[in-house]
Symmetry: C2
Subunit: 253 residues, 2 copies
C-alpha cells in the first residue's frame, strides 16, 4: 500500500454505499462493515435486518465497530436507494428477467465512473440463503456476479462484500504498490566494474576458459540484470570476489 | 458465473497452493478453506498451526469442510514450499529488506503465468497478529500487498485469502459473465417500424410538432438504442402505442 499520500480518488469511495437487505445473521453485518472499512467504504445501509444492533455485529466488526454507529436502517429498498444514480444488485443466480449482468470487475468500473461524475452508487446484497428477490433486483439498473467455482459457489455475505469493496477500491485507486526500492540501484559503471572483476576471477579459478567466456558471462549478465542490483549489493558481490581472489592468491603462494 | 461449461484454465488452479503459517485461531483455517474453495483453489498447507484439526475450523469451513481432510500440515515453511517455483508472501508491512513487492493483482498474474508454464505457486500467509517473519518472507521470491485504507488496514486472514483467491481465479479465467440475453434482440427493421409508429403517435398526441420532431426522436433513439431492445420488448412497446392510438381515436369520436 502506498501509505505516504492517499491518491485523490479516495474521495470517490464515500459515494459508493453498500445496502444489505433482510440480513438474518447480525454477525454478517459486523463482518461486512469491517470488510468495507478495510477498503475505505464507509456508508452502510440496512433494509429490515432481523436483529440490529446486536452484540454479534459489534463483535464481528472488530476494530471497525465504530462504523456501526453511523449505519442507516430502512424499511424498504427504495429508501435505501434514495439519491442513487446507479444501483447494482449482487446476484449469483441467472434470472429470466434481469437487468444487464456484469462481472464484478466491470461493475466496479461502472460504479467508480459514475461516482467520478458526481453520481451516488449502491451495491445491493440480499439475504444469506436466498439472495435478493426478483422485485429487489428489478429496482436496480445492473446485476453484478462474482465468478465462483461451479463445484462450490457458496461465498458468504461478508466475503462477497469484501470482494466487491476490494474491486471498487482497485477501480478507484488502481495499483497502490510503490515499486521503488528504498536503497539506491547500482549505476551502470558500478555494475560493469563488477562484471569485469567477476569475469577475471572466474577465469583465474578456471571456471571459464579465457577464450570462450562469452556464453557464461551472457547468462550471468541476464541473471544480475533481472535482479536489478542495488549499489550495496554490488559492494557485497565485489567483496565476495575479493575474498575468493585473496584465497586463490594465498593458495598460489 | 458461466455455469454452462468451465473454461480450460480452471486446470491451473490446483497448481496454486495456499500456505498458512503459524495460524493461531483454528476458525480462520476453516474460513480460509471455504474462501479458497469458492474460487476453485484446493491445496491448503498449514505450517505449525496452534490447533488443527479443531471443531472451530470445521464449523467455519461450512460446506467446504471436506477440504480440511486433505489439508497438509508441516513443521517448516521449507516443507510447505517443496516443489514450488514461485512463492509469494502476503505482507502488509513495508520491510527494509524484502523481495520485489507486487500489488495483489500483479501477483495473481505472475502466479497464473507461472502455473500455465507448469510451475507450482504458493501464496504464503503469516500469523494473524504479526504476519510473516522476515525469515519467512525471504524464503519467497515475491511479496504481494492488498491495497487497504490507510485509516483501517486490518484485513482478517480469511478476507485476505478471499481477495487473493478471487484475484487468482480472475487472472486464470477472466470475466466469466456471459453477456448474452436469453431472449433474442429485436432486428433493425422491427426497431425501425417501432420508431415510425412512435413518431406518428407522438405527433397525433401533439407531444411533438409535425415539422420539428427530429430532436425528440433523436433522444428517444438514443434511449432505446442504449437499452438494446429485445424482440418481445418491441412487441410490448408497439402494443402500448396501439392502445394509446385507439384511445385517442375513441376520444376523437
Amino acid at each position: 500500500m502506498n501509505d505516504s499520500n492517499e491518491p485523490l480518488d479516495e474521495a470517490l469511495l464515500p459515494r459508493v454505499r453498500v445496502v444489505l437487505s433482510h440480513t438474518t445473521k447480525p454477525g454478517n453485518i459486523g463482518a461486512a462493515a469491517r470488510a468495507m472499512r478495510t477498503m475505505g467504504l464507509t456508508r452502510l445501509i440496512l433494509v429490515r435486518p432481523s436483529q440490529f444492533p446486536h452484540r454479534e455485529a459489534t463483535f464481528m466488526a472488530a476494530g471497525a465497530a465504530d462504523m456501526l454507529d453511523s449505519v442507516e436502517v430502512c424499511d424498504t429498498l427504495d429508501q435505501a436507494l434514495e439519491g442513487t444514480t446507479i444501483a447494482i444488485a449482487l446476484s449469483a443466480r441467472r434470472r429470466d428477467l434481469s437487468p444487464v449482468a456484469l462481472d464484478v470487475r466491470e461493475a466496479a468500473a461502472v460504479a467508480v465512473a459514475d461516482a467520478a461524475k458526481g453520481g451516488e452508487v449502491a451495491f445491493v446484497f440480499g439475504t444469506e440463503i436466498s439472495g435478493l428477490s426478483n422485485d429487489e433486483v428489478l429496482r436496480c439498473q445492473r446485476v453484478a456476479r462474482i465468478g465462483t467455482s461451479a463445484q462450490f459457489s457458496s461465498l458468504n455475505l461478508a466475503a462477497s462484500v469484501q470482494v466487491v469493496a476490494h474491486e471498487v477500491r482497485y477501480a478507484a485507486l488502481g495499483n497502490q504498490v510503490v515499486h521503488e526500492t528504498k536503497t539506491p540501484l547500482a549505476t551502470h559503471e558500478e555494475t560493469e566494474r563488477f562484471f569485469v572483476a567477476l569475469e577475471a576471477s572466474l577465469q583465474r579459478s578456471a571456471f571459464i576458459d579465457r577464450d570462450k567466456s562469452g556464453r557464461v558471462m551472457d547468462r550471468l549478465r541476464r541473471l544480475y540484470g533481472r535482479a536489478m542490483l542495488e549499489s550495496q549489493e554490488v559492494n557485497i558481490l565485489r567483496g565476495m570476489l575479493n575474498a575468493w581472489d585473496t584465497s586463490m592468491d594465498k593458495r598460489g603462494d
